[in-house]
């Protein structure tokens, strides 16, 4: 039985790669600086639409961390995002006017770019509103982590999505370009996550956090998945299945210990809930280009009309990675 299943997943992986190959025509290179990529560079991949205001901080954050090159697909932005990216010396840009949804939320495009440029590199796949935090990230660059992962023969690194939100209404404090979004959205839910195993793909399925608490009280099964594996020593045989939630081959999804120990893991601080959010939600509701016909955004829009406050008495204020590790949201594993 398991042989049959393994074979099916192999077919599935081939199919994903074929799909990525087909979808490569949907993205057009705008500026290609990938010639400058060195053998052991760390690459970041991202798909975005109208994120101009977030880009300066996003790029700087990951540059400081040690990302050497950014490969970005611009999905038809009209707010100057593309023009801004073109000016950056370490960014290669592709653009697409095609459907985000039918490229499976950009996964097909990035699978193709990773297959073409990511082979043999440590690849980080993040959205512009996601900030990676890993153990010792205040004193050790990302390269220290990837070197350690290499030395430990670990191919993939888990970083759960942690929804950050401001205290007060989300429209209260405007976000300025270049500003650290954590200055505004500095709060999170520390202990309301529910985890189950996906036996088919071997990954964990994590739900909960502020979004489940506020928007999915009545239908928790539809709450967004928070498990993510954004950092992978890429091979052209690999493929993301569903956003960065899971990968094939499925061994890459075993980022957790099953025998009681803790593996090293990080957190993706998800700074979605800034003042830019309402506009975004309204637009996405029109476009219906997001997951499950934007059921997420639908739920937000309904609640957001009532002007909710995500913050509650038991929200935690973000301090640093050590706090997240003490709270049990991430772990140093045996990295010391």
């Amino acid at each position: 039985m398991s042989i049959i299943q393994s074979y099916r997943l192999r077919l599935k992986r081939k199919q994903l790669l074929a799909r990525a190959f087909r979808k490569r025509r949907e993205i057009k290179s705008v500026v290609d600086r990938t010639d400058g990529i060195q053998g052991d560079d760390i690459l970041a991949f991202s798909t975005l639409r109208n994120e101009r205001v977030r880009l300066p901080f996003f790029l700087q954050y990951y540059r400081d961390m040690g990302v050497n090159h950014f490969l970005i697909v611009d999905n038809d932005s009209d707010d100057g995002s593309r023009e801004y990216l073109l000016e950056q010396p370490d960014v290669s840009v592709w653009s697409s006017k095609h459907s985000y949804r039918r490229s499976r939320y950009g996964v097909d495009w990035l699978n193709w770019l990773q297959r073409k440029h990511g082979d043999g590199h440590w690849c980080l796949v993040v959205d512009p509103d996601e900030l990676l935090v890993y153990p010792f990230c205040d004193t050790r660059p990302l390269r220290a982590l990837t070197d350690w992962l290499d030395a430990s023969s670990i191919r993939s690194f888990s970083a759960m999505l942690l929804d950050m939100y401001p205290k007060g209404r989300i429209n209260e404090r405007p976000y300025r370009a270049g500003q650290n979004p954590l200055e505004i959205a500095s709060w999170f839910d520390s202990g309301n996550y529910s985890i189950s195993r996906n036996w088919k793909y071997w990954n964990l399925w994590i739900q909960g956090g502020a979004r489940a608490r506020m928007f999915f009280q009545d239908n928790p099964e539809e709450a967004p998945a928070l498990n993510k594996i954004p950092l992978v020593k890429w091979s052209k045989k690999y493929a993301y299945v569903d956003s960065t939630h899971m990968l094939l081959p499925r061994g890459l999804n075993l980022v957790f210990d099953e025998w009681g120990g803790e593996k090293a893991s990080g957190v993706l601080l998800h700074t979605k809930f800034l003042d830019t959010f309402s506009a975004k939600a309204a637009e996405e509701l029109q476009r219906r280009e997001h997951y499950s016909k934007s059921v997420e955004y639908l739920a937000y829009a309904q609640s957001l009309d009532d002007d909710p406050e995500l913050w509650c008495k038991w929200s935690e204020k973000y301090i640093n990675w050590r706090q997240l590790e003490i709270l049990g949201l991430m772990s140093k594993g045996n990295w010391a």
Binding site: F136, A144, G191, S194, I195, V255, E258, E262, K263
Partner: protein, 559 residues
């Protein structure tokens, strides 16, 4: 010095040694491309006391490392007559103390060999599950590249009963590969007439670099100090821990002479330790205890984890949790039905967090009517019932250090009874049949009451079956209601005593029990309607005569 990567750092360290007056012989792995090697050798060409020995192919766990060490040792002893101690180090080693301190330290111990060396039976380092068998089996397959073949071949040899002979009856010893030997001992090993035999033997031993010198030094050395002067910590897979910039202070305070492995890009470490010495020369002994603790904790975290934590990188299979919740908690069934003010009373008596029915169908009844508690856990029943065990483990984890108590009842159908029953951290106290009291007190049609009583009794009977199963590990107490009201204080006292030190004093105040006069008749009425209430035990039907005085309820008092 054995070198295979980060040649720029190796060059820096070699210069540092040589500038302090220590000749250096470098062995560069033969896997390093000729061009890179040439450039490296050229860069060090102007250092007068640095030499390069014959290169061998080094792969982890194979003979190449020993061959390289032997070549380097021969060259060292032949070319530098004044050398008394030879220190084996690697390209990723970093001297932490001024070299002069090491020279003085060794000069004060001219006859001592520093080499960690223990017999195989006495050490727990058994990566791959091999200790003795490292010496008695053959290992033609690479452990790193062909793990499957390696394992299968070991299995096969075990099955067949194959054993190699150990030459001359030497006693195999193992230990850290980073040693510091005296010229006497090292030359004795190199010039041993039997060396060809030993070499031939060790060539087929697994990880000979941890046993060759460790074994042979025992033959010649008069004074072995079985420890390594190199600070080198290993994780649970036998892979060396790596030091980074943020370890600077820790390494400083360790007073070790040399540490490995250093991350090649740890600029602050290299800049900080490869400076000219300042201040007085110290003669302190190395003291790696603090570093030991930190790395031991890392291994513990990786292998055992934090108990009761479920997260993205710790999700144990059932039975491998080490402890399925992170702290002790108490579950009460029937108490809040029987006593009118049980929850406030319990909170006052024990100082713990006392919740209502956490698994009530309407909402999670948190203490003090809160809608959200620690960790932003909400009272939404849908979220709770989506994953009832996660709800409980989250609550217990979020409130570490503060004991939680909550009520349970037969109507709380989504409660993870099996999970709680199997948890040794749970203290469960049940008064069976007490659910009948609220029914008795309620103002409802008897037909409804009868139906509800039948339902609750069935549910509670199922719960009790689970709690009494052979797999239950919780601390469990069950009374029938009749039993309990005979002498309620005693069980209450023992439950509270067990809950912890904050309630060592005796209870001074009892919770108020509901008025049960007429309860016996109520049960009899149920019986008369064909529903048999049995979980509460035997209650006498109080005589219904009109003129007879009502017998006062049996008082229960605090002794």
């Amino acid at each position: 010095m054995l070198v295979h990567t980060a040649l720029d750092r190796a060059e820096q360290v070699a210069r540092h040694w040589s500038a302090a007056g220590c000749p250096v012989v470098i062995h560069v792995d033969a896997h390093v491309p000729r061009k890179t090697y040439k450039a490296f050798a050229k860069a060090l060409g102007n250092a007068p006391t640095v030499r390069f020995c014959q290169r061998h192919k080094c792969e982890w766990g194979t003979w190449g490392l020993v061959a390289g060490t032997l070549s380097a040792s021969e060259m060292m002893l032949a070319e530098f007559d004044e050398v008394r101690h030879v220190y084996l180090s690697s390209g990723s080693c970093l001297p932490l103390r001024p070299v002069q301190e090491l020279i003085d330290y060794l000069a004060a111990r001219p006859q001592t060999d520093f080499i960690e060396s223990a017999t195989t039976s006495d050490v727990p380092w058994t990566v791959g599950g091999l200790s003795d068998e490292r010496f008695t089996l053959r290992f033609p397959f690479s452990w790193k590249r062909h793990r499957y073949l390696f394992d299968k071949y070991v299995d096969l040899q075990r099955k067949v009963g194959f054993k190699r002979k150990i030459p001359n009856g030497i006693q195999p010893h193992m230990g850290s590969q980073w040693w510091c030997l005296t010229r006497q001992t090292l030359s004795a090993i190199l010039e041993d007439p039997e060396r060809d035999r030993y070499d031939a033997f060790f060539q087929k031993v697994w990880i000979p670099d941890e046993s060759y010198f460790q074994t042979l030094a025992r033959l010649y050395s008069g004074n072995i100090e079985s420890r390594s002067l190199t600070l080198s910590k290993f994780d649970f897979q036998g892979k060396p821990h790596i030091f980074y910039d943020d370890h600077l202070q820790l390494l400083r305070r360790s007073d070790c002479f040399v540490a490995r492995k250093i991350w090649p890009r740890a600029n602050r470490l290299y800049d900080g330790f490869l400076r000219d010495p300042e201040g007085a020369i110290k003669m302190t002994e190395p003291n790696p205890a603090k570093i030991d603790r930190i790395f031991a904790k890392a291994v513990e975290r990786r292998t055992r984890g934090r108990q009761g934590l479920y997260m993205q990188s710790r999700f144990p299979h059932e039975g491998f949790e080490h402890s399925i919740t992170s702290g002790r908690y108490s579950v009460f069934q029937g108490f809040s039905d029987l006593f009118e003010d049980f929850e406030p009373w319990l909170a006052k008596a024990t100082g713990t967090q006392v919740h209502g029915h956490l698994y009530s169908p309407e909402r999670a009844e948190f203490a003090r009517e809160q809608k959200v508690v620690n960790g932003a856990l909400t009272d939404s029943p849908a979220l709770r019932d989506y994953n009832p065990t996660a709800f409980l483990t989250n609550l217990i984890w979020n409130t570490r250090g503060e004991r939680q108590c909550f009520q349970l009842g037969p109507a709380d159908e989504t409660a993870p009874i099996w999970f709680i029953a199997k948890d040794p951290n749970a203290q469960i106290s049940v008064i069976s049949g007490a659910w009948a009291v609220p029914l008795f007190k309620s103002n409802r049609n008897f037909a409804d009451l009868r139906q509800e009583a039948a339902r609750l009794q069935k549910l509670e009977a199922e719960q009790l079956k689970v709690l009494r199963s052979v797999w239950a590990k919780a601390r469990l107490r069950i009374w029938t209601m009749a039993e309990f009201i005979e002498a309620p204080m005693e069980p209450l006292q023992s439950i509270i005593d067990e809950m912890g030190p904050h309630s060592l004093r005796r209870l001074t105040e009892a919770p108020k029990m509901a008025d049960l006069s007429g309860f016996g008749q109520f049960l009899q009425n149920l019986k008369n309607q064909g529903m048999h209430p049995y979980l509460m035990g035997d209650f006498p039907v109080s005589p219904p005569g009109l003129n007879q005085p009502k017998s006062p309820r049996k008082p229960y008092l605090v002794q």
